[in-house]
């Protein structure tokens, strides 16, 4: 997967300019690079503190880059082993393409196998699928979570969909948190309405189409969220935790966006990669900087090289790592 916005215009509040700004794409590319080159064996938690002149766009850009990197990693490294119909067993977690041209993606746990019936069929989740329409069956590796989806596959106008379309689609049967976003509802509600317009075919993708919350029984890759703005949001998070397994909820990448989120969560986050993003106009700037400085005091220099030159001017980066148990 490649972070390429070349076919899109960024649209905020209904206003767009030609192309996606460099400052935005530089953040997304940086996040993609950092996440896609991380060591899976590392026992450290890598922190990337990003300060921006204004918080706007930071969450979206870093989320898109990180999510793209995580999906690409799963796509490349996990073995979605293809099996035949007669190899199916109850309890298996599978993803199958069905329909005349395989235009439906159905993913879930096999509940019943009735191949000897007059009309041979299998039950996945609560759905029965006729065996004659099944085109392809893949075993889902445990790292992909426990997806349960029944969805018409997205049709793309060309053979090589953009990374945004890939994120928006459900071609990959992944049902687990890939990104742990912690921010305020104001930022999330605002930025997730931002759009990427494709002037060549007059289509558009909203940010919320590409970065989707993980939800019990809902398809696609996801992000979990802890909001700090209200008790009801905290309650929603607790409910989600009760519905999903720990493996589904544990993301390797955390994104703390805003001084509020950093102050509330920095000490309790233990992900492999932690992005702390804040605007230098943040009302809690001093406290945020102090909290980050304290974290830095007990840190080590990053043990790998990262390319910071791609970051646009006006963006400051502090990178360090701490042992995962600190």
């Amino acid at each position: 997967m490649k972070i390429d916005f070349s076919q899109f215009d960024l649209c905020i509040d209904g206003e767009s300019e030609r192309g996606v700004p460099l400052w935005f794409s530089s953040l997304a590319k940086f996040a993609f690079d950092v996440c896609s080159t991380r060591s899976m064996e590392s026992q450290n938690s890598e922190h990337f503190v990003i300060s921006l002149p204004d918080i706007d766009g930071g969450l979206t850009a870093i989320s898109l880059g990180s999510l793209a990197a995580e999906i690409a990693r799963i796509e490349e490294t996990l073995n979605f082993e293809e099996i035949q119909l007669d190899q199916l067993e109850v309890g298996m977690r599978i993803s199958l393409d069905s329909g005349v041209a395989g235009q439906q993606k159905i993913t879930g746990q096999v509940k019943t196998i009735s191949l000897d019936d007059k009309t041979p069929k299998i039950e996945i989740g609560s759905r029965w699928i006729a065996a004659k329409f099944i085109q392809k069956i893949c075993l889902i590796p445990s790292e992909a979570g426990n997806p349960q989806i029944f969805e018409r596959k997205n049709e793309f106008g060309d053979d090589s969909p953009s990374f945004l379309h890939k994120l928006a689609g459900s071609s990959l049967p992944i049902h687990r948190a890939l990104l742990d976003i912690r921010s305020t509802s104001k930022i999330i509600e605002d930025e997730f309405e931002w759009e990427f317009l494709n002037p060549s075919n007059s289509t558009s993708l909203k940010v919320k189409d590409t970065i989707r919350p993980i939800h019990s029984g809902r398809p696609g890759s996801g992000w979990s969220i802890v909001l700090n703005s209200s008790e009801s949001e905290e309650l929603a998070w607790l409910n989600l935790k009760s519905e999903l397994s720990a493996s589904e909820l544990d993301a390797d990448i955390s994104l703390l966006c805003s001084g509020t989120a950093i102050l509330a969560q920095l000490e309790s986050i233990n992900s492999k990669i932690v992005f702390s993003i804040f605007g230098r106009d943040d009302r809690q700037l001093l406290a945020t900087e102090l909290a980050l400085r304290q974290k830095y005091e007990y840190s080590n220099p990053l043990s790998r090289e990262i390319d910071v030159t791609q970051l646009h001017k006006g963006i400051e980066l502090i990178a360090f790592e701490v042992p995962s148990n600190v």
């Binding site: 960024l10 649209c11 905020i12 509040d13 206003e15 767009s16 300019e17 700004p21 460099l22 400052w23 503190v49 300060s51 002149p53 204004d54 706007d56 766009g57 605007g279 230098r280 106009d281 009302r283 700037l285 001093l286 900087e289 980050l292 400085r293 830095y296 990053l302 990262i306 910071v308 970051l311 646009h312 001017k313 006006g314 963006i315 400051e316 980066l317 502090i318 990178a319 360090f320």
Partner: protein, 514 residues
């Protein structure tokens, strides 16, 4: 401008070099430096002396506001108000302190007063210049950042008065939070006065100008408070420039020649030496308790300790109100007093009264000389003591014969009754002499008024810069050579010892004898 455009232009102009304009203002610089010096010298006193605390608090507020409050620079400008209050409180606080502190205070007085008199603020003029230059460059919306809320309204008024309408004035906090969209940002003060966010989160097409003063050091770069930890730090350069100085400080070291400066530390010795040279031969002359005042130009004057007033110049007053009668007790270091140079007051008035009265005055003088000569003859023949006794026997309670016999310093006794008795005692027809002496007294009064008027006119219209520079200014009173010159002298030191000075030497300028 849309939100996206704002974000794009913010990143486009991020890390643009900040222009730092350092104003060179020698007058304010000297004042500011001396206030800081005084604060440092008196630090230990501030906790125990509310007077010192008040004085210095006002002076420091003034100093801060001069550098941070652009507004109409009239007498109600808060900096001037604080300064005037500070100077008033400082006056009289330091006369008993060491020479170093006195020197600092004198400098604060002189430079402070010069600032109060000035109607030009270097901050105002430079701000207007930068606004004008920015507008010419193409900046339509200019944002000016001031240190605190109460500075904003007066500056807006000042801008309106100067027909400037394309400028938004805000505090740093508001500007950052409101995310103003501007073409140019002008920040009044120094970088460390503000949150770093102002410089690393607000950017504009024509950049940021930081306008401060040359004696407050400014940084060469600005980042964030975490920049020293950063793998990719924010690094905004600051380029420095300095304005040309348009003011001159008052260097109070000019007030004192080196030799006299030594004498100021030994005023007691100097005063004793001067006192020793005063003519005390006239035993009938009354002695007046006086203190010695060391004046600029290597001069000393003895002034009464108990009461009396003296002409002085109020250096803060506008032309027309400068010359004022001031109680001697309220004189302090830095006061400017007026004294005849060469001849005494009474001599000047004597000469002028003759000039005004013409031939009539000659006749009056003849009668004046006759009765005074008669008194002198009587004193010589009978002796002062007997004459006094005889006059007392006639019912004259306090016969001041020593004063009455003086031709130039006295016209007649105050009491008509005593004067009649005295003239009869001297065998002189009272009616003609009393009438003539009354006319002569009116001539003296007219002369005194004319002298004072001339004196006032001279100093109301004089260029007082010389007093600032040298500590004194001497002017001629009219064309007539017999009329004395008049001098304005800055008081440098006031002695503590009291001397019994013959009346004729009181208020007379004396050369300092070291």
């Amino acid at each position: 401008m849309s939100r996206l455009q704002r974000l794009n232009s913010m990143y486009a102009y991020a890390e643009m070099t900040i222009q730092h304009v350092a104003i060179e203002d020698t007058l304010l610089k000297t004042f500011s430096r001396e206030v800081r010096k005084l604060n440092s010298e008196m630090r230990e006193w501030l906790d125990v002396s509310t007077d010192w605390d008040d004085a210095l608090a006002n002076l420091r507020r003034a100093d801060w506001r001069f550098r941070n409050q652009p507004a109409e620079f009239n007498n109600s400008h808060p900096a001037k108000v604080y300064l005037a209050e500070g100077l008033a409180k400082l006056d009289g606080l330091y006369s008993n302190l060491g020479d170093d502190v006195q020197k600092i205070c004198r400098s604060i007085f002189e430079n402070g007063n010069a600032i109060i008199r000035s109607d030009e603020s270097s901050l105002n003029s430079n701000l207007l210049r930068i606004i004008s230059e920015s507008s010419k460059q193409g900046a339509d919306n200019i944002l000016i950042i001031l240190r605190q809320d109460d500075l904003i309204a007066p500056f807006k008024e000042y801008l309106l008065k100067n027909s400037i309408t394309n400028v938004l004035v805000e505090t740093s906090f508001n500007a950052i939070q409101k995310r103003f969209l501007t073409d140019k940002i002008i920040v009044v003060g120094n970088l460390l006065d503000y949150s770093l966010s102002l410089f690393n989160s607000l950017f504009s097409e024509y950049g940021t100008v930081l306008i401060g003063y040359s004696w407050v050091p400014e940084q060469d770069i600005v980042g964030t408070s975490l920049s020293e930890l950063a793998t990719k730090p924010i690094h905004i350069e600051i380029s420095h420039s300095e304005t040309r100085d348009e003011s001159e400080a008052i260097d109070i070291s000019h007030f004192l020649e080196p030799s006299v400066e030594i004498a100021s530390r030994k005023l007691r010795t100097v005063a004793k030496n001067v006192y020793a040279h005063i003519d005390k031969s006239n035993l009938d002359e009354e002695n007046v308790p006086c203190r010695a005042y060391l004046l600029a130009g290597n001069n000393v004057v003895f002034l009464p300790t108990k009461e009396g007033a003296i002409d002085s110049i109020d250096m803060q007053a506008s032309s027309g109100n400068r010359v004022q009668r001031m109680p001697i007790n309220s004189l302090g270091i830095g006061s400017v007093i007026l004294l005849r140079v060469g001849k005494s007051d009474s001599e000047s008035i004597f000469e002028m009264a003759n000039s005004i009265g013409g031939k009539d005055a000659e006749a009056y003088r003849k009668l004046q000389r006759e009765w005074k000569d008669a008194l002198k003859v009587r004193i010589v023949s009978l002796g002062s003591q007997l004459v006094i006794t005889q006059l007392k026997d006639l019912g004259i309670k306090n016969p001041w014969i020593g004063e009455w016999k003086s031709f130039k310093n006295n016209i007649r006794p105050e009491s008509d009754e005593y004067f009649q008795k005295l003239l009869k005692y001297l065998a002189i027809d009272p009616s003609e002499t009393i009438t003539a002496m009354n006319s002569l007294r009116r001539l003296h009064l007219m002369a005194a008024m004319k002298l004072r008027k001339m004196l006032k006119e001279k100093f109301e219209n004089a260029n007082l810069q010389t007093i600032h520079e040298t500590g004194f200014l001497i002017v001629d009173l009219g064309e007539s050579p017999e009329i004395a010159k008049l001098g304005a002298f800055v008081c440098l030191s006031i002695g503590e010892d009291v001397f019994e000075v013959p009346e004729s030497a009181v208020k007379q300028l004396q050369k300092a004898v070291i």
